[in-house]
């Protein structure tokens, strides 16, 4: 943290998006996280992505649970709706918000502790329900806010700051997400915005549940030798498996990309994801193959990153229905309905109850 606020004065060359907003308009308050925290870089990437997608901040709901990650929504989109829920319960809060107003752009920020320990059940079910949200796990392998105990994502053999070795097996959120049926699964690194920003943009545009696990080094408790979530380790073992560019509906895919190298995956709103430099034996739309490929890379000691799996836009409504589709709710947000219509009243309730007596 700092004693002064980030001054409002900005570069005169700062451009405005179609809403007339600059990138600075998408910022939140000053971060109180440790200097150098990967989470702050992810915040900056989120700001960049929202600004580039020209999403109005007031149309966004940002939610979080507990932990260092839980603090971060304060640091972006100060004009968005926000809710900082109890530990691990961010998925329920988001589900509720999205149930009530399906037009909200939902972004939930969680951590490896918040999602893979106390919130594991919530995490599994929000994937199952396919809530239309972007779920970011800021993954640093430790409980930073309680002074650096191993979290559920810590690798076997990695050490804590004081040298203790972790013996428990890690939970890998990417493999878990694939397993649970997530339609959009990515892994990235807070120190690589060039990769991270397009993935966030694609995740926000994906209809249904999108998961991005971002390696986000904890400079205070997990950036030492022996850590497998440090800046140095991540860079040394970085394997950018696929390059993904997000291409909005109206735009042409940049011609500089060699057609042979590129695979384009259509999204529901007409935008596309352009994959580049994909390994020959890798198909980012084949869930089983992606799963085993990532397992292979992990065995080789690599941190495989990129937009690893994406479900192409459904050709028929039966495939991949999102939360509202499953529930069969009306097209308009429930919040636009008058109270009288949403609530049948005590009389009707009594009648209903009588049927079960």
């Amino acid at each position: 943290m700092s004693y002064i606020k980030k001054p409002r004065v900005h570069h005169p060359g700062l451009t405005r998006n179609r809403l007339g907003l600059t990138r600075r308009d998408y910022e939140g308050t000053m971060s109180t996280l440790c200097a150098g925290c990967g989470h702050d870089s992810i915040t900056a990437a989120i700001i960049e992505a929202f600004w580039e997608l020209e999403i109005a901040p007031h149309e966004v709901a940002k939610t979080s649970g507990i932990g260092c990650s839980g603090k971060t929504p304060t640091y972006f989109l100060k004009e968005a709706h926000g809710f900082n829920g109890v530990h691990g319960r961010m998925p329920s809060i988001t589900t509720g918000a999205h149930a009530a107003n399906r037009e909200l752009v939902c972004i939930g920020v969680s951590g490896d502790g918040d999602s893979l320990s106390i919130g594991m059940g919530q995490f599994a079910h929000v994937v199952r329900r396919n809530v239309d949200m972007l779920y970011i796990i800021e993954n640093n392998g430790v409980y930073g806010l309680t002074k650096g105990q191993f979290s559920a994502s810590a690798d076997v053999g990695s050490t804590a700051k004081r040298g203790q070795v972790n013996r428990e097996h890690p939970i890998d959120s990417v493999l878990l997400g694939l397993n649970l049926g997530a339609g959009f699964v990515a892994r990235s690194f807070s120190g690589d915005k060039e990769q991270l920003v397009p993935i966030i943009k694609a995740g926000l545009r994906h209809r249904g549940f999108a998961l991005i696990d971002v390696i986000s080094p904890c400079v205070t408790f997990n950036d030492h030798r022996g850590s497998t979530k440090s800046y140095q380790y991540t860079r040394d073992n970085y394997n950018q498996l696929v390059y993904a560019d997000f291409v909005p509906p109206a735009e042409e895919i940049a011609t500089s990309i060699e057609a042979g190298d590129m695979r384009s995956v259509q999204m529901h709103d007409g935008s596309r994801i352009a994959f580049r430099k994909v390994p020959e034996d890798y198909d980012p739309t084949d869930r089983d193959q992606v799963y085993s490929y990532i397992r292979g890379r992990q065995r080789a000691g690599e941190v495989a990153t990129g937009l690893l799996y994406v479900e192409p836009a459904p050709r028929n409504a039966v495939d991949a229905v999102d939360f509202h589709g499953i529930q069969g709710t009306v097209d308009e947000p429930l919040t636009t309905y008058p109270f009288e219509e949403l609530c049948p009243g005590a009389e009707k309730l009594e009648k209903l109850q009588k049927r079960f007596q």
């Binding site: 702050d40 870089s41 120190g191 800046y231």
Partner: protein
Amino acid sequence: MLKPTDTRNPDHYHRVVDCQWGCPAHTNVPEYIRLIANGQYTESYLLNRKSNIFPGILGRTCDRPCEPVCRRVRLDGEPVAICRLKRVASDLRDDITGFLPTIPEEKNGKRIACIGAGCASLTVANDLLPLGYEVTIFEKLAKPGGLMWTNIPEFRLPAKVLWEEIDYILDMGVDLRLNSPIDSLAALLEEDYDAVFIGSGAPKGKELNLPGRWDSEQIHIGIEWLESVRFGHIDKCGDRVLVIGVGNTAMDCCRTAQRLGASDVKVMARKTKPYFKASPWELEDAIEEQVEILENHSPSRFIIEDGKVVAMEFDLVTWTPGENGRLKAEVHGSKIIECDEVILAIGQDTAFPWIERDIGIDFNKWDMPIVDKTTFMTSVPGVFMGGDAAWGPENIIWGVEHGHQAAISIHAWCEGRPLTDRPPEGMNLISQKMGLHEWSYSNDYDEAQRVKMRHVDLQERFKRLDIEVEEGFDIEQTLTEVERCLNCDIQTHFEADLCIECDACIDICPLDCLTITPNGTEEEVTRRLTAPLLNYPEEPLFISEDLPQTGRIMVKDEDLCIHCGLCAERCPTAAWDMRKSDLLVPYAGLAAGELHPGMSIMDLALNGGAAEGELAGAGAGAEPTGAGAG
């Protein structure tokens, strides 16, 4: 591949301090502003005096080359009022005589003659007297000061301020010869001087040889007229006055005329406002006093009746861009404007009728003596020249800097050292970190707009010629204005080997100054920057060594950095630090950063080392001054 910036070379960080880089004398502006903010007016004054000799005079009259280049202009359009803050230091200082260098009783046996007692010669004397030189200044007028005295009206520069600062130097033991014009340089060279410095200025006003010019007594040369007013030879003028020309002398002339009883003063300009030579603030002050400025009037003749000028005729012109960028005039009519008096203020020239052309001083085709730009020596060994005399009219601060450089040369000359061997500048670089989130300076960006100088009421100010128009900043105005300074000398210093490339500095930087990117050609790297370059290469880039984890480089565009220190606060490894770069400037007999004997206490105080009391008692034989009070 771009090469890493060598920040040990004082030039890089000096360039970042735009005001100091822009000041010919390299005045340490941010430091003196911080001293003012701290109430240390005496220290601020002394720091100023070290480089610019005349803080009180310059705090009112400087042409302020520092202000247009001030970083604040590029952020909110208005520079810090650097010049007027200097005046605050001067106005509120205590007696400083105890902090002036002691003059050795025993002289070094070298005698120097200076011609003209203006700012350049006075600076030469100021620099050489503490080294034991005997300095004689020959002045043709009855008072010293040169154009500072004769040409700057008292409503801009009170006599007390002028004499006080000139006396500091004269009291060091100058052998001042008033009413002593030099009629022959050859004769002077015959005398027993070890070196001669010519600081005779540009005392000849330009003529306007139009029909009728010589037929009336009421047509004056601006600088001569101002001089006559200064000496009291002229104390009134006609009702309707035309001032020809629109430079700073013209502004002084028209405003003086107002005070001598004229009720209708017109400044006649040949071109339009963008081409006016006067400084914008001097124009503003004249306009405030209801002087009329007429554009596109090109004088064609004086109309004389019975030996009196009664009017002037002007061609009405418009200007169109002609060949090689020069404007071309097109006449489309004429106009007669009645008047009782005309003042010509269209420029001034040097004049050297007293330099014999056969004594070895080379002149160029414009009849200007050829002077070496580094050593300030003419083609006659041991004869030096500076100020307006050397290359034509400039302003006081340039004259002062010429004086400093000439003094370095004269000292080397007298000691038999090569003149081209200039003493190098130095730099101290000291961390300003005081705690986890604390810096030694006020690092937050203050959004205040430039404070406006208050002026004496319009009716009041015309009552006398010597009523200073500008009231100076009061404490509140001062405290607002000092906070606008961005402390550009407190540098963002980067150590590449500590960086872990976490991007925290890039994310927090309010002005998008920072980029981490692969090295490449200049074109490639500048294209990849976080924000577009606006003033490159005038404003430098910082290029780091290769970063340890990825081999990329950190690039900083110095252009718009507000020195808020957030990059350093958000840096987990202290790869960024805020360090004060203190430019150390050499003077005659003093290596970079060195001070005259007995003056180290002042330096201590400037670096925050001495308490007020220590400073107050430091001047040998001086009254305890209680420096910093007020």
